[in-house]
Symmetry: C2
Subunit: 405 residues, 2 copies
Amino acid sequence: MNPATICCRRASLHASFSRHVVNSRSIPSPSSSRAFRTSSSVLGNRAIVYSNNGDPSSVLSAITFPDLPPPPPNTANLRFLLSPINPADINVIEGVYPAKPVPHQSLSSDDSPVFVGGNEGLAEVIAVGKGVTDLKERDWVVMTKPQSGTWTSGRNVDVKDVLKVPSSELSEAEAATITVNPPTAYNMLHDFVRLQEGDWVIQNGANSAVGQAVIQIAAAKGLKTINLIRNSREDIEPLKSHLKALGAAHVATYDELSDKAFRNKVKSWTEGKDIRLGLNCVGGKVTTLMARLLGEDAHLVSYGAMSKSPLSLPTSLFIFKNLTCHGFWQSRWYDSKTSVQRAQMMDTLVGLIRDGKLQSPEHEVLVIRGQETDSDARDKICTAIARLTGGKYGKKVLLKVEETP
Amino acid sequence: MNPATICCRRASLHASFSRHVVNSRSIPSPSSSRAFRTSSSVLGNRAIVYSNNGDPSSVLSAITFPDLPPPPPNTANLRFLLSPINPADINVIEGVYPAKPVPHQSLSSDDSPVFVGGNEGLAEVIAVGKGVTDLKERDWVVMTKPQSGTWTSGRNVDVKDVLKVPSSELSEAEAATITVNPPTAYNMLHDFVRLQEGDWVIQNGANSAVGQAVIQIAAAKGLKTINLIRNSREDIEPLKSHLKALGAAHVATYDELSDKAFRNKVKSWTEGKDIRLGLNCVGGKVTTLMARLLGEDAHLVSYGAMSKSPLSLPTSLFIFKNLTCHGFWQSRWYDSKTSVQRAQMMDTLVGLIRDGKLQSPEHEVLVIRGQETDSDARDKICTAIARLTGGKYGKKVLLKVEETP
């Protein structure tokens, strides 16, 4: 990606209030008690929002709203630069994800909540409130509070819910995708078993964004990975080569995994050394087979269930091989850690990116331009989501919602 | 049980060597290098042995052998008082259990191993070798080394493989059954989550020996248990009453568990408090349903798989409810702990028994009398095992192999 293609547009000055409700069924008018304040700033905002859970194409709207008022104490006003459309974001809109967003304070009325889509994103600080010492204008920040609502040109946030990232060391795309997948990979490799250089890790769904981060972070630590991928791909050899180029020790398909001879192949790869950690985002038979390859006292960490089948494991693995099974959810990680711990983890990831050891997954940028209508903006988003859910995008989609003129 | 019925028989003096191989197919003659030494002691021994894995009725034999020679340094000669026939012992003989016994040193030749059946047992010290300071004659000991071979009247053991238990505070049956099931219950309640008084635990297979120990140890700690049992029993109400008398807060059948309303019943029992620990010896659907009742951050510990179905759990339980799944195997516990840790745990269990807070499960004693032939002894054992595997015994069977005249 060329960061130049997504550089921040400095739009023409505009202070008037425009609010076009595209899908009036789902977006209520703000109550008078929450009427927007105009400010001396220059641009309007747009957000992708919903009021009720459901199919994104039915419930999503684009909405324009005036520039943000000056930030209250201990908060910051942000301009979003790039916000991924992650699969989980769609589940949140559908209402099938356990994490529930908080209604947007200014856009909602007491009885009609309005939620802004998006969980992850990179933003630039445009103003800070009283008492804010750790952030200043032009700083880059990412969200650590889950479901902050990032599909917007701008919003006000509590400073404790964001984490500063160095704009000098990361591209916009790298920074915009740094809060969910790379930390998931990093923490799964660190939080469950103390791995030493030369230790073996096995994972399925290895070409997912997390899987690719696992390969790279593991390789940077001197860990060796066995990577399992779906076999129903035409481009299997280029994919294997790509994952090996990222640092994968071995790549095999789920078909190869099902072969009885695969166990011996793995033994020859590891020279009989126990595999100490398994990472699972698939479930079902693929995970049962993978778990059988784990060594004594191993840990199996699940962070997804792409097959929609449950985890099915022989009890003997637990009793006699002392397997321990965990789940991992980056949202819980952020909730349970201090800001210092979050910053340390982020520093490590930034270091890996800076040193060329951790690449972002392939992506494309979807721009909602300031001069587009809310209706066009809504359609653009819904088309992108339909392509994503239909599996038509091979690349991660990064949304850029420009300010409105 | 009345301990008097199994008090140690002081048989008539006898120093001659008798060795009757009942099943010559499976029991080799000892090689001359391992010829038995006669000693000045007074009784012969008998053991229930096998040389090959298989159906116990095909591979088991009774064998008589001379009294033990004086114990080598750091060892002790034992007279066994009572040795349980546990289900796992049968699996070991069949060769389907992961723990493999070590061949009996004196009975085996280099190319023809002989294994003594039995893992658990109470024995009395009859002689100690040089360097043994912690044990003396008449002390009671139990085995902490897995698969020691306890279906015998006597044997020599390394003193580090046994643990002294107080004969003044336990009945023979209590002591003979203290090394596997009560520690399994105790350690599962302690090793995975720090439970506080008033916390909730749920378990299936609640009327197993371990399950009954869980109920009692939990009650002694002020923990509350929800206990799930099979519904295919005619005597369900007496069983429920029995478990409640042991300290169960609630008892329900697997049928009740399958009812959609059961979740609300559990919520009313716990007053909405999270269940923090689940104990599983069943697997399959019963365990899936039980796991769904666990609270946030709960631990599910498996120690058996009576249904022979795998553990099948929705990945969402791991990711979003932070479930952790473990296995527990008391053999591994002993292997991984120091003798001080083992003794501390045993002290705690002895204290619970002494205080009337932990009863042994119902049992009957199967005596192999000294004057019976090896052939009769073998048949008696095989009949008992056939009844056990056919589910015809409701009670635990404790074997007493008397010395031979």
